[in-house]
Symmetry: C2
Subunit: 356 residues, 2 copies
């Protein structure tokens, strides 16, 4: 049956310096094959595209191993089991796993755990919701930035209190939208930072943030925007971008502020993994008795189910929206990935590989 299928794949051809272009990738095809005893065959439906993916292209030590040259590009996603010789997975099951940027994945029994393959229930959320607000990384490296990161970053590191001011960069992204909407539910004043007037408008109108600062509106826009929208300073800053925006927010911290370091998109395209300038205003941490703390979501794996239950409740009762930006077709992957860095996506970026 599946032996007649052809698998289209996107592989890493060479490591990019700076922005990855189409020449960093190669497109391959191979026959799919049949699962051996204990294995499963999964058809990819949709893949999660995340800023962390850019980091995996660098040959540098991080908390996730780099993608090897010639390997299928790593990606987390949702698929359908189409053949199974494993009693834990039946044909027709919807699964979440490290599927890779390819149409099919044959997972031998010994790789199932490492792959992070788990069944998901589409009654709890839709495919795109499972990749967004309900998104969880099944294993280190599957997906760096999802609803779980937003949830545990805000709740565990940020510890929001009603009435506090929460600022979120990358406000229209997968993490940003979860953090902002959750902070609103917790009674905070929420100010986003995003690129472009249209996106800022969307963040306020669609996601319900109190305000959104357009960092592309010219020199000093972030500084002025923070002054206008955070008159009492910033109690919690959820940093998705690093760079100059981090510095601008550091300069506006309130006493006992918490800065959550989640990612640093502005730094990812640098050639090294931890490059560029550090936050020159870091001594604001001293003046304001503030703290800056990193979060890696995998540490919270034993509590994902709690976060998912809470967030799914908010999605069901309409207090939270899950906004996705869906791009179709495996062959669009190189350009789709770059949308994350050019700031084109409105909402969580999803690559739809096949219709359900």
């Amino acid at each position: 049956m599946s032996s007649s299928l052809t698998n289209h794949q996107v592989r890493l051809a060479k490591r990019p310096e700076g922005t990855a272009t189409r020449e960093n990738w190669k497109f391959t095809t191979e026959p799919v094959g049949e699962p051996a005893e204990g294995g499963v065959l999964v058809k990819t439906l949709s893949l999660s595209l995340d800023p962390a993916m850019r980091g995996w292209l660098n040959d540098a030590k991080s908390y996730i191993a780099p993608v090897e040259i010639d390997a299928v590009m790593r990606a987390g996603g949702i698929g359908r089991v189409i053949a199974s010789k494993n009693p834990q997975f039946a044909v027709g099951d919807t699964v979440y796993g490290t599927l890779g940027v390819q149409e099919y994945i044959l997972i031998p029994q010994e790789d199932i755990k490492r792959n992070g393959l788990v069944k998901i229930d589409l009654r709890v959320g839709t495919i795109t919701q499972w990749l967004n607000v309900l998104g969880m990384p099944g294993m280190p490296g599957m997906t760096g930035m999802t609803g779980m990161t937003g949830y545990f970053g805000l709740m565990d590191v940020g510890q929001p209190k009603a009435g506090e001011t929460v600022v979120i960069s990358g406000a229209a992204g997968a993490v940003g939208q979860t953090v902002g909407q959750l902070a609103k539910i917790k009674g905070c004043r929420v100010v986003g930072i995003a690129g472009g007037a249209a996106k800022c408008d969307w963040v306020v109108k669609e996601l319900g943030f109190d305000a959104c600062i357009d960092y592309k509106a010219g020199a000093g826009a972030v500084r002025e925007g923070l002054k206008a929208h955070c008159p009492k300073g910033v109690d919690i800053y959820f940093d998705n971008v690093g760079g100059e925006i981090l510095d601008a927010v550091l300069a506006r911290l309130a006493r006992k502020a918490r800065v959550i370091i989640c990612g640093a998109i502005s730094q990812y395209n640098n050639a090294n993994s931890m490059p560029g300038a550090g936050p020159k205003n870091y001594l604001s941490l001293l003046v304001n008795r503030a703290r800056m703390e990193g979060i890696v979501v995998f540490d919270y794996a034993d509590r994902y189910h709690i976060a998912i239950a809470e967030l799914a409740g908010y999605l069901k009762d309409g207090r939270m929206k899950s906004k996705e930006d869906v791009v179709s077709g495996l062959d669009t992957f190189p350009e789709a990935l770059n949308r994350l860095f050019s700031g084109e996506n409105f909402g969580k970026l999803v690559l739809q590989v096949a219709n359900d």
Copy 2:
């Protein structure tokens, strides 16, 4: 009586760019005068010299107001009450307060609280111990770096656990020696960073640190030293210096490390208050799920007595030493202050103005 006395003073003549030199100061004399009703007259015995003083010379917003041009240089110190019209202070009392770099201070009743004037008990500790391991800032701005900073920075922000590795820059200074010895008492492995082989030797032999890294020993000395002496990474870093040393330690953090930002001596002599490069390795906080947090000791004022009692106990039973480097004579102040930045002092730097 005191009306016949002459007060020698050191005043700020102009703000330094970079290192303060003798031409930034002026030396004045004026008659002392008598206290009015409710006031006290204090004779300065010894002054605390601290890295934070350099920051007060800049005309920049910080958590402490700058010293005004022509004002007597601000300094915390210990003195003796020599005339009093205030029932709370008797002639002969030893006091701790914002005495300033001068031989006498006449404090009117309405300024006593703001000055931070408090009686101290020389049975608990000697004059120099009160300026060092037992040192407390009586008011915002009096003294930035003392035993209290070390105590609350390590215990409250660092939260040391036995067996952890604690690294301390400025190891031979007032804060460093308190932090290191306290961390040893709490069962930690303690590695200092200091400038010069002689000072490192002193830190290990006199203060009992497990090791001390000489940052002046050449390029890569700190990196190599951390690798050698912290094979499992750094659990707690107490940063007194900022700059490249902070970056080197960030690169060696252990999981869930705590970085305590206490000061940034290497940055103080810059013309602006928050200048220079930020820590370019700050994303190590993300990789290692670590946190970096500022401490301002004044926040702990209601618990100073607890820390003093604990530390005085260690001094009495010999588990902790209070090491001071005493310079004599008010007129040596300009050069004495710079010893903090040239790294010449072994132990807490104290300016003795008069014999007790």
